[in-house]
């Protein structure tokens, strides 16, 4: 995994097809510096804990966190799996419902004026505030987490997809029209491919937000998931386990982000090349 940093980009992400196995072309700095940064931070953390004699319940040494992670790896894995499921389902639901809504909003002035203000109003409501209500409606099972993950992931999908569809070059639409293309052909052969880079950008934002949504749901009420594990560990003053859950969450976020990047690369033949930097 060469890319360790989670990057958000405005606009289409460039595909990186560097020759990874050509040693002369390996970017050593790119390979070495991110782990080095991690090592420096962890070392500083360790020195601070030992030097300032910080209590374990406040900030455990890195080694204790690692120990907790190794000891309870089965728990982290099973709870992580729950959170991952909530994230993925919420994200996929955001795509399945968000893209059609974006198509409707982008193609119809009436629907745009009817629903877009509502969507923006919805976005400005803090999702944490909605979580208790959704919990009342949907119970403490996976449904409520999924709903919150969906809510937070929905907005970037809709907004970016709509922007992509509307950014279709007017002349390309005229070309299709000059050939008497059907609305269906115009959508599939022109608008959708033109919007695809935007949809990928929205998806990358949405998937990381979905993780946050799932954890919010777990915080407000649940009996499983990494958010739940983190809460119960802190309530038992098991700070090393709480930190281990936190790292598991970070890894989960990165993995789901990279999964979207992977899909983007698989779709690279369909995406317009963009110059990097």
């Amino acid at each position: 995994m060469v890319e360790c940093t989670v990057r958000f980009r405005v606009g289409p992400m460039a595909t990186e097809r560097s020759a990874m196995f050509d040693l002369s072309r390996v970017d050593w700095q790119r390979l070495a510096l991110p782990p080095l940064g991690l090592i420096v931070v962890v070392a500083l953390w360790h020195v601070a804990c030992v030097g300032l004699d910080i209590q374990v319940s406040v900030l455990p040494r890195p080694s204790l966190v690692l120990e907790a992670a190794i000891k309870r790896w089965d728990l982290l894995l099973s709870e992580g799996w729950v959170t991952l499921k909530e994230t993925i389902y919420g994200f996929l639901l955001a795509l399945v419902l968000g893209i059609p809504l974006a198509v409707a909003v982008a193609n119809s002035r009436v629907l745009n004026l009817t629903f877009y203000p509502l969507l923006i109003a919805l976005q400005s409501v803090p999702k944490v505030a909605l979580a208790p209500i959704l919990l009342v409606w949907l119970g403490i099972g996976i449904e409520s987490k999924l709903a919150i993950a969906w809510l937070v992931a929905f907005f970037p999908v809709v907004v970016d997809t709509a922007a992509g569809l509307q950014s279709t070059p007017r002349e390309l639409l005229e070309l299709a029209r000059s050939l008497r293309a059907s609305p269906w052909q115009i959508f599939w052969k022109v608008q959708f491919p033109a919007a695809l880079p935007f949809i990928m950008t929205g998806s990358k934002v949405a998937v990381t937000l979905a993780v946050i949504g799932a954890v919010i749901g777990e915080f407000v009420g649940s009996s499983e998931g990494l958010g739940y594990l983190l809460l119960s560990a802190t309530s038992q003053i098991n700070t090393p386990l709480a930190f281990a859950s936190l790292f598991a969450l970070a890894i989960l976020g990165i993995v789901s982000y990279l999964a979207v990047v992977l899909v983007e690369r698989l779709l690279a033949p369909l995406l317009p090349p963009t110059t990097r930097h």
């Binding site: 390309l172 008497r180 317009p272």
Partner: protein, 289 residues
């Protein structure tokens, strides 16, 4: 030549709603245009920017509704686009996510005629424009001139009987533009299609056309209908003939570019020799003397 297209008293007024915010009153883009063109003719619409020539082309293509008058192609009133027309835009207008050949095949896909013969024709066209080896490339890998050639192939692949070209070479550099002009003449000989060609380059209009319709400033009217009797095949040498200069001057005069120079004497015009008019834009000050 039997009449192929007949335009009768075509008028276009953009209403305020079409013009967007800030428009105080409707804009008369085309006052009244009547003309005919024959089958297989190449007719240029020549005029200054904003004179309505592109608007007229879009109306002929059925891409834009007209306010009044009639446009008949082969006796049929044009009210919407016709799949039998090919349109070449000012920009190459290629789909960046498609390869060159898939861009060329796009019209066949849309009209449901994507068969082996069509594919072969697409490859042949790329061969003719000198891009045979680039069929698998992506548009961004090509230069602007190459992209416009792909665009030309795309407009021809479904064998349209009428090709509408909207300043297709306007964005190209001078040398590429001259190459493209020769290419277009070559393609015309092969396809025998009727072409309506919008340009603001006097030299390009004269070099390519059978007829040049010179437009006034907005609101557009046709101020002169020049029959270009230069013999075929035309080549670079054609640009330096006396007749070319005469026609070039006549078009310039109709455009109001040259005012104080007396009309050329038939045999004296050859003194002009290679002149700035080849460059095309409306900077005709050097014409004559």
């Amino acid at each position: 030549m039997k009449p192929f297209g007949v335009l009768d008293d075509v008028r276009k007024v953009f209403e305020r709603s079409e013009l967007g915010r800030g428009a105080r009153e409707p804009l008369v883009a085309i006052e009244s245009i009547s003309c005919t063109f024959g089958e297989g003719e190449l007719v240029s619409l020549l005029g200054p920017s904003g004179c309505g020539k592109t608007t007229l082309l879009r109306i002929i293509a059925g891409l834009m509704p007209k306010s009044a008058g009639s446009v008949r192609i082969r006796g049929e009133e044009v009210v919407e686009p016709h799949a039998d027309f090919g349109f070449v835009f000012q920009t190459p207008n290629l789909m960046p996510w498609r390869s060159v050949i898939d861009n060329v095949l796009f019209p066949l896909e849309i009209i449901g005629r994507l068969d082996a013969a069509g594919r072969k024709r697409a490859h042949d066209l790329l061969e003719i424009v000198g891009l045979g080896d680039f069929h698998a490339s992506r548009p961004h890998q090509l230069s602007g001139g190459m992209q416009q050639r792909v665009s030309l192939c795309r407009a021809l692949v479904h064998q349209p009987t009428l090709i509408l070209m909207d300043e297709p070479f306007g964005a190209l550099d001078e040398l590429t533009r001259m190459e493209m002009n020769d290419l277009l003449l070559d393609i015309r000989v092969r396809t025998r299609a009727t072409v309506v060609f919008v340009t603001h380059s006097i030299a390009e209009a004269v070099y390519l056309s059978d007829r040049v319709l010179v437009f006034s400033r907005r609101p557009g009217r046709i101020v002169e209908d020049i029959t270009v009797d230069l013999p075929y095949p035309r080549s670079a040498a054609t640009r330096y003939t006396a007749r070319f200069s005469e026609l070039d001057q006549r078009a310039s005069r109709a455009l109001g570019v040259i005012k104080d120079v007396p009309p050329p004497v038939a045999h004296g015009a050859s003194d002009d020799g290679p002149h700035g008019g080849v460059h095309g834009a409306l900077q005709g000050g050097t014409h004559g003397h």
